[in-house]
């Protein structure tokens, strides 16, 4: 049997209360710990204070858990650890699992698991998955615990078995403001890499609100900041990413007033916010951000009416295409600044905030993007650059940008090669400046990569602003 470390870091009265009254009874459900240990050799490793160890050992529920799996205690460094310690412990626990040849399993001390979460995770491990990403959202502990115990707790310390659908219903009933601000178009917002979309009467579409339930540290790595990474070319192929709450799901308990100072009044979380957040250094290091943004997770209570879900799924797809496109543009902006193309970078930032760009184009197949260098932009005819950055010049800017993009994987040759831009206009390109063609072709000075896209820095602006929108329409037709 595959060794598994069920890892928990817990201290303090509130968290111990959650662990012993909710988490452990949920683990006792037939589809959780009993199902897991049929397929894995599990050890429950609890990092806690000495004081809390003594308290836990006295409890009946502790005895019931330890009848199923051996429990090992790990001392916290002090009796009053700093809040940050649980993050540090996550990294260390993962390393310990790696050294022991075990799979790391995150048993948070403040969650409500559905009745078959651990069992289904064990099945995923059995199929060779190196990690499991499952959806969750936060609920108000002050009201949710009483509801859980009253509705599903048959007796103190008895197993709590909550079907996934009922857990989602419970989640909506007790949804924490921290998660409610993560619903699309909410009145207020807060920083979040995910977004949820409501499906009336039936549940929620959740995008990128996922957490690692299990990780095989032999096959996946962890950074000092706790991000899971891999150098594999197709990371999503060996990770189980949940798409339906019937598979794996949990709720995270939090006091009502938690983290109130992180909220942003009157600014709902949108695609650009998510893109910017996922470009922060400690987040972007994860290769799973991009694959996760393509996954639509259905959190539902009861059966799903496809006519209700499909439009919501489609609109969530559109938002997350926009997320991926904005991330691409932010990356391109960074790259161009780094390589001295200041003016082009500035135009890209303008486009991000003012243009409705074709997200399907920029997030579909790999593109070649030609970027005029600063000299090329400086050589534009008088007024041309001003027209591009004018508020009324948005269409010109959009056309100019599309003039510089081709879906061909363009390779610069010494001889002039012609491509078609995304606008349908011809683009003449050649490498080096020595043999510049007379008929308006641009030379590629440098080639860069931005994700799947090829970036060619060129010495001339391609057709920018040369045609009026009217003439361009004629040209297209």
């Amino acid at each position: 049997l595959k060794p598994v470390h069920l890892s928990t870091c817990v201290w303090g009265r509130w968290h111990l209360d959650m662990l012993t009254r909710v988490v452990w009874p949920c683990l006792l459900a037939e589809g959780n710990l009993p199902a897991l240990i049929r397929q894995c050799s599990a050890t429950h490793r609890i990092c806690t204070t000495r004081r809390d160890q003594s308290m836990l050992r006295e409890l009946e529920i502790f005895k019931r858990i330890s009848q199923l799996v051996p429990i090992e205690f790990i001392d916290t460094p002090t009796e009053n650890p700093e809040p940050q310690f649980h993050m540090d412990r996550f990294v260390v626990a993962m390393q310990e699992a790696r050294d022991a040849g075990a799979i790391f399993f995150n048993v948070w001390p403040d969650v409500v698991f559905a009745d078959c979460t651990l069992g289904n995770a064990a099945l995923a491990i059995g199929t060779g998955m190196a990690g499991g990403l499952l959806p969750s959202f936060r609920v108000v502990s002050e009201t949710c615990i009483a509801d859980v115990l009253e509705t599903f707790g048959k007796a103190p310390e008895a197993p709590i078995s909550i079907p996934a659908g009922e857990l989602v219903r419970l989640g909506v009933r007790h949804m924490h403001p921290l998660s409610a601000t993560g619903v699309a178009n909410a009145v207020h917002g807060r920083p979040d890499t995910g977004l949820m979309f409501r499906v009336r009467n039936e549940g929620l579409v959740s995008r990128t609100s996922s957490n690692w339930l299990f990780v095989d540290p032999q096959r996946l790595e962890i950074t000092a900041d706790g991000a899971i990474t891999t150098s594999a070319s197709d990371p999503a192929s060996f990770v189980h990413i949940v798409t339906d709450s019937d598979d794996l799901v949990f709720l995270s308990l939090a006091p009502l007033y938690k983290e109130l100072d992180t909220f942003r009044p009157h600014h709902s979380n949108d695609a650009l916010d998510i893109a910017r957040l996922t470009m922060l250094p400690h987040v972007r290091v994860s290769p799973f951000i991009e694959p996760l943004d393509r996954v639509c997770v259905r959190l539902h209570y009861g059966s799903m009416t496809e006519t209700r879900w499909n439009p919501i799924v489609e609109s969530s797809d559109a938002v997350f295409r926009r997320v991926r496109m904005d991330r691409t543009l932010i990356h391109l902006w960074e790259l161009l600044k780094e390589h001295g193309c200041r003016q082009a970078a500035r135009l890209i930032s303008l486009a991000v905030f003012t243009l409705k760009l074709p997200a399907r184009l920029l997030t579909g197949r790999p593109l070649t993007i030609f970027v005029p260098n600063d000299d090329a932009i400086a050589a534009l005819s008088p007024g041309a650059f001003d027209r591009l950055i004018h508020r009324e010049g948005r269409r010109d800017l959009l056309n100019a940008m599309l003039d510089h993009v081709t879906i061909a994987d363009a390779v610069a040759h010494n001889e002039r090669t012609e491509y078609r831009s995304a606008n349908g206009a011809p683009i003449g390109i050649q490498s080096g400046t020595a043999q510049r063609g007379a008929e308006g072709s641009a030379s590629v000075l440098k080639e860069l990569r931005s994700g799947a896209h090829r970036i060619c820095i060129i010495d001339r602006v391609l057709n920018a602003g040369a045609e009026t929108p009217h003439a361009r329409r004629l040209h297209r037709s």
Binding site: V172, M175, A180, V187, H188, R264
Partner: protein, 300 residues
């Protein structure tokens, strides 16, 4: 809640303070007003938080339908319905804080934000501008940036009123104090574009390309000093400084950050009664009340 207005509360508590130190009260007045203002502000913030969370949950419920579960926090009374009346109940505490200390930036900002949310733009604008000229709490947290935010929000309202040049000046005053307003930073380059200042707009669009957080000053409270901390009940709930509260296990009363002890035989149960005794009653009644800024001074 007592029916006293903010101004009446200030007048009554000043009278009470004079009673507590007939000779020295003038010297004690200014520092005490600061503390009293702080306590009313704290009471306002606590209610403002609840209002804010109530707004979020009300919005969530509005996005569902009858077949969706109703929210338990509202049913349990942890949160409440949101309307202008609810905002007004919170505003009253800020009004009192401002009445005690007219140049206290934080309650001015928070009151402005409530007025804006009620759609009372002109009042909100005047209050944000006042907050921008006012003094933040001496122990305000650096990321609260209440003055910068006050100018920023005033500018935002000016834009909606089409007063673009004034808006620009205010945005610039805000930016002198804080370079980046996070996801809201985009408001400034959009204004610059409207004004034809396209090149400068580019600089600010670029500033908004990377993630930066803008904290809500409404909820970033100062590091209060012990003697200005609002008094809490044993269960952690703040005493309402507008109400006359009895300190559990004692005969001491607490109101407007003052402690009172009333001679036996003269039960006082409301602020109005206290007002009558202190400001309109016979001298004997007035003398039967002891008042202090600290609880300890009344424990005999």
């Amino acid at each position: 809640m007592t029916d006293l207005t903010a101004e009446q509360a200030v007048k009554l508590s000043t009278t009470a303070l004079r009673l507590s130190a007939p000779l020295l009260w003038r010297f004690k007045l200014a520092p005490w007003r600061e503390k009293a203002a702080s306590v009313f502000y704290q009471a306002g913030v606590e209610r403002h938080r609840r209002l804010f969370l109530s707004e979020i949950v009300a919005d969530l419920e509005a996005s569902g339908s009858k077949g969706d579960p109703s929210h338990a926090a509202r049913q349990a009374g942890l949160l409440h319905a949101v309307d202008d009346e609810a905002r007004e109940r919170v505003a009253r505490y800020y009004e009192a804080a401002i009445a005690y200390l007219p140049h206290f930036a934080e309650p001015l900002y928070n009151l402005a934000s409530l007025r804006r949310d009620c759609g009372r733009k002109d009042e909100a604008l005047a209050l944000f501008l006042r907050a921008g000229q006012a003094r933040p709490h001496s122990r305000a947290k650096p990321h609260a940036l209440v003055i910068a935010n006050a100018f920023w929000e005033a500018a935002t309202i000016m834009v909606t009123l089409d007063r673009l040049e004034e808006a620009e000046k205010l945005f610039r005053r805000a930016l002198n104090l804080n370079k980046n307003f996070g996801p809201d930073h985009v408001r400034f380059p959009r204004l610059l574009q409207r004004m034809g200042k396209n090149v400068e707009a580019l600089d600010h669009f670029e500033l908004a390309m990377t993630y930066s957080h803008r904290y809500a000053p409404e909820f970033i409270e100062p590091e209060y000093l012990p003697d200005e901390l609002a008094v809490r009940q044993p269960d952690g709930v703040l005493f309402d400084p507008f109400e006359l509260n009895r300190i559990e296990g004692t005969e001491i009363l607490y109101w407007a950050h003052l402690y009172f002890r009333v001679h036996r035989g003269l039960p006082v149960t409301s602020v109005l009664q206290l007002q009558k005794m202190l400001m309109g009653g016979p001298e004997t009644e007035r003398r039967s009340i002891r008042c202090s800024q600290t609880k300890g001074a009344l424990v005999t």
